[in-house]
Symmetry: D6
Subunit: 141 residues, 12 copies
Amino acid sequence: ATEEEVYQLTVRLLEAIHSGDYGLYAQLSDVKLTAFEPEAQGILVQGLEFHRFYLEAAKATRRRQGSVTSPGQHTFHPYSTIENPQVRILASGSAAVILYNRLTMSLSADTGKPTTHRYQETRIWEKHGTTWKQVHFHRSS
Amino acid sequence: ATEEEVYQLTVRLLEAIHSGDYGLYAQLSDVKLTAFEPEAQGILVQGLEFHRFYLEAAKATRRRQGSVTSPGQHTFHPYSTIENPQVRILASGSAAVILYNRLTMSLSADTGKPTTHRYQETRIWEKHGTTWKQVHFHRSS
Amino acid sequence: ATEEEVYQLTVRLLEAIHSGDYGLYAQLSDVKLTAFEPEAQGILVQGLEFHRFYLEAAKATRRRQGSVTSPGQHTFHPYSTIENPQVRILASGSAAVILYNRLTMSLSADTGKPTTHRYQETRIWEKHGTTWKQVHFHRSS
Amino acid sequence: ATEEEVYQLTVRLLEAIHSGDYGLYAQLSDVKLTAFEPEAQGILVQGLEFHRFYLEAAKATRRRQGSVTSPGQHTFHPYSTIENPQVRILASGSAAVILYNRLTMSLSADTGKPTTHRYQETRIWEKHGTTWKQVHFHRSS
Amino acid sequence: ATEEEVYQLTVRLLEAIHSGDYGLYAQLSDVKLTAFEPEAQGILVQGLEFHRFYLEAAKATRRRQGSVTSPGQHTFHPYSTIENPQVRILASGSAAVILYNRLTMSLSADTGKPTTHRYQETRIWEKHGTTWKQVHFHRSS
Amino acid sequence: ATEEEVYQLTVRLLEAIHSGDYGLYAQLSDVKLTAFEPEAQGILVQGLEFHRFYLEAAKATRRRQGSVTSPGQHTFHPYSTIENPQVRILASGSAAVILYNRLTMSLSADTGKPTTHRYQETRIWEKHGTTWKQVHFHRSS
Amino acid sequence: ATEEEVYQLTVRLLEAIHSGDYGLYAQLSDVKLTAFEPEAQGILVQGLEFHRFYLEAAKATRRRQGSVTSPGQHTFHPYSTIENPQVRILASGSAAVILYNRLTMSLSADTGKPTTHRYQETRIWEKHGTTWKQVHFHRSS
Amino acid sequence: ATEEEVYQLTVRLLEAIHSGDYGLYAQLSDVKLTAFEPEAQGILVQGLEFHRFYLEAAKATRRRQGSVTSPGQHTFHPYSTIENPQVRILASGSAAVILYNRLTMSLSADTGKPTTHRYQETRIWEKHGTTWKQVHFHRSS
Amino acid sequence: ATEEEVYQLTVRLLEAIHSGDYGLYAQLSDVKLTAFEPEAQGILVQGLEFHRFYLEAAKATRRRQGSVTSPGQHTFHPYSTIENPQVRILASGSAAVILYNRLTMSLSADTGKPTTHRYQETRIWEKHGTTWKQVHFHRSS
Amino acid sequence: ATEEEVYQLTVRLLEAIHSGDYGLYAQLSDVKLTAFEPEAQGILVQGLEFHRFYLEAAKATRRRQGSVTSPGQHTFHPYSTIENPQVRILASGSAAVILYNRLTMSLSADTGKPTTHRYQETRIWEKHGTTWKQVHFHRSS
Amino acid sequence: ATEEEVYQLTVRLLEAIHSGDYGLYAQLSDVKLTAFEPEAQGILVQGLEFHRFYLEAAKATRRRQGSVTSPGQHTFHPYSTIENPQVRILASGSAAVILYNRLTMSLSADTGKPTTHRYQETRIWEKHGTTWKQVHFHRSS
Amino acid sequence: ATEEEVYQLTVRLLEAIHSGDYGLYAQLSDVKLTAFEPEAQGILVQGLEFHRFYLEAAKATRRRQGSVTSPGQHTFHPYSTIENPQVRILASGSAAVILYNRLTMSLSADTGKPTTHRYQETRIWEKHGTTWKQVHFHRSS
């Protein structure tokens, strides 16, 4: 595995999250995915069910927003950028961890103003056969 | 009683709560059910009347939501997952206690954004004749 | 007077309050009723005029709610339950005091979610001729 | 002057305030009326102009409310009660001071729920010729 | 029973509370005394044990304060005044209820400045044989 | 009574308050003095007992402060100035009301820094025989 | 098992907690004790190690307090009372659950004033051989 | 590598942190250790220098506490327990990630009361030659 | 210049502000007007451009309000009164400073209730040729 | 480079930001632009993508506002003024830094009232060939 | 009068304030000095008495600080700098106004850390005979 | 100028700040140094005087701390680390800007616990003759 490959995997995963593409998300994730994230307030989230709820909500919001913006107008879907990424290839290259700051830009629900959220993320990838799967991630804000 | 059986009973009870199915809830509960929960601010809730109010409200919200979401669109009804469950079969197996963290996912009323609430629950089941009944539960957030 | 009789009087009084039935409320109350309650911020409320304003408001809300809920749907009027009641018959039984926690369930005005308020109430009943009248109550939250 | 007369004058003044009847208010007030009240944050209000703004606003709200409530329905105009009044006739009875707690009941603008505000008021009346005029008042909440 | 007698009983009780004189307090109280007070956050306090803790603490503070103030200097022990009292003799005069605002003056623990707390109190007295006993009180702030 | 005379009476009263001179305070006050002030949170204070507690506390603080400041050093006792005073002579001059902003300067208890508090005061004086007495005052901050 | 027996066991356990008597506490507790309590913010506490830290701290505070209070003076050790207890005997009497409100009185660390905390507790007892052991408890405030 | 081995390594690391044993900490850590932790507010901490400051402070506090507690008395050094640990051996076993909730018990600096903090930790270990080194950790509270 | 003339100039200037009459405002102001006001959070505002934005906004609000209030109804445009004004004629009368409290009355945007804001203003006027111009003002709230 | 030239460049850049003219913004900016700004909460923003999101949002808001304001009415687009600017030409004049306070005026989203925000900005310009480019800016509020 | 002369006068005045030199302060001030400053919460301060209290407090603090700092050690007396000053000579030069931001550096009372406060000040000087006197100032923070 | 040289200059400057070495600081700084920093709340700090106050305070604290820590004990002087630095050489290498996150570790004044503050800093260096001088810096937290 090369650092660039791990970086690109992570970029595709963030796009899946924002577009609410649960199919792609599942494809990039181990079924026994574990996660620490602020939403779960200390409880380790296990499996994909929890993330599915958030992705479906993102897709519904995106479809609703799309329908109200008149054609030709710029639709502002939330998106994220990866800042100061560091990749560490583990154990002969069959596993890797990427750690980065994540900036998520979106229009705030009530004022319509652009807002930015900053997170720290640690995401662990492992090679299952020939495909890479995220097996654990830890987000804090 | 087996631990799995007690776990499944609890899963069915949480579904009854979220779908507002008071019939099923009553069937799974002792008439003299007692409960400590944040809503009652220290007062022991006795009987089923209090819980009925909450279940009927859940059913009304679910019906209202159903009517507004256009066909084919994903309707986001609140649901709960049980995390880190532990079951303790008491004495000769005719009673049991299950303790777990509960994550409840729902769309927040004002911003429409997915939100998650975390609770701790202790739920005590007892075999009345051939059917299991919850006799007491204690929730804290 | 029996404890049960005082308890039932109090139940009917709470129903009168929630349904906004000022007629019944006045019938159960001494004209020179006195009350300490959080709304009056330390000032002793004297007479029935103050309570009439609250009961009329409850009736108006109930009528307005009734008109908007389509037929067959469950209308959620606020109601109260009496928890851990204690009745003390005073002197030769021609007066009594009931003290209890009161749980009031209602749909919150802005989010539509079911909410619960907890109060402590001390209510003093006295026999005027053959009918019982509340002469003083003290509520705190 | 008798205590009762001063009490009645004050009752009529409060009614003028709530119904927005600036004519009656001016008739009961010295042109060089002075007042300390929370709204003016420490500044002594002099003359009637300031109070006129508040009375006209009350009248406009009352007219607007009146137009929206369907006939037969109870319209909830704000009103005040005078609690624990004490009247002190000064020297030869051509001046008097009344001090009381004032409870003002009204429907809160956003939730429609009945709410109560408590104030302390000191109001000084003086006989100008044959008519009584309020010359100064001090309100605190 | 006369209103004045009930008023004097209450004055003596408040003095017992401030001087931490548990003996006198017990003498004036029914063993099965019940109380709603802010400290117990909704829970009905039953018996005298709870109040004993508070009185002993008052006595200890008073003794400690006494020892540090040099002779001749004014020692500021907390004390209460009863404002706007109303007494209602119940039925045949063998029971009575007194309701009043209570102002408690004391030096604040950290700044040493005089401070005042305002409470509402409803206190029910009953004649047991020849002596009056408080059987229930309800305090709110 | 002249406006200047009422103004001077008020200046002397404020000096009595700050130096804790209860003798002078009582001499200038009617025994049935009434007062609305923030400390009493809505309750009308009646009689001199309440004010005595505050004056004694002021005297004790002043004596304690005096003893710690080495000779020749400037001791900072709290003092008040009367700003924008207006005097209204009532009823042929045998009663008067003075209304003013009051600035009270003192060293704050914990940081030792000079601080200023602003109040509004309405103070009513009446001639009892040949001596002027304050009969009522209303303070708000 | 009788309800009274379960109640007494719980009283002894609370005494062990306040006196910091870890020996007695361990004797009354299953080694695989589980607990939900506010201190652990959602995490299920397993085993006795966590509780030992709190009991040792209580014992140290008690010894330190004891050494500073001069002989004959009342030392105020924290203590708890059990209010509105309900006991439910489970499964032919070899297990039981007790649910109650708990009032804990103590002197606050900084102001030295008596304070009270209110909790809800669900405590499950099971008979291991001839001795009763608490196997799980759930506290919320 | 076995799960138990990774668990024990983590226990030893937490002990090093609490006892301020920087020697052991460095021995168990890669020189190019990276970390996300609340203290650094979003900035990735790189190298050991940052952690050394915290460990030295812990050692100084421990030495200072030790000197003040009289012999025989229980000294309360902060300590942590690992709850709900999950270990995932990566690829061929030469790397592993452990994720757990961490409860840290300590006496609060100002009130001396025992307090508990809850964290989520993700810690990645890698085998460098024959010794295991932590290469990255992510803590959130 | 006479004090009255300076006072009238200031009254006209406040009317220009509330009616959004930028023409009149500019006519009464030096092009190099300087101002300290809370909106600019410490930065000295120079020139007229900043004030123009606020005046145009006032005019737009006034026109919008005007169009919605049905004829004959009282329209509540914000207005200010000048309290306790003091004018100091500087040098040979070709400059003057006026200092006053300003009370601004308006209907609050969300609740429609009348509200009052209090400011302190120092405004410096200078005679340029035959016309008076404000050259600097300092507002604080 | 002259100070005036750098000042004018900065004015044009601020206009591009408020009108949402991404074309002009990009033309005036180095592709590897870096920025510290409150929105990114400590993370260095690199490249133009982040700023494009904000400019597009400004353009959308401006177009939406334009469509709702009836012709002839003053549309209030946000704009900024540069206060107390200082320009420092670096070395041989092929780079410069401008530092200033920035006041941004706009109508607040919910109340429609004019509001002002104050920022400090440091903006570094460098000559790439014959055109000036901003290479870094630092904003704080 | 030249701008420099007014600037220097203001510098000397600020030094008088920080060193608590009331003599110099009075010498530079009109006896009928007026002032708006945050401490007086809206009330116009008239005369020198109010400022004397603050200057004496500054002198006492300075003397106390002086005595505790061992010789040779740097004593940190508060001081102010004048930023972005603008002077406007009024009419024929016999009056002037200076407006500036004022930064006051001092050691915070409790943490001993250096802290900075920012103010806006408008100060009006007038030539009385041959000496300049401040006649009015307006401070806001 | 090389990037490493600019980085080392900045490291030496931060050491000067923490050790309070004003001599070294001045040597590394232009006399007309300008700075935006949170302490000055929007005002541009000009010259070295302001920074001298902070450095002298740091030196005094360091000397005081040094004297109290017994020999051999680790003294915790505050220090900073530079994270994610980026250096941009400007013009022909005679100027440079360095931008970085700054982590400052210190013992908190009241709890003695180690704490960390995160800042963003933009620092501009310019070659004056043969020595590098910081000419401007912008800090935000």
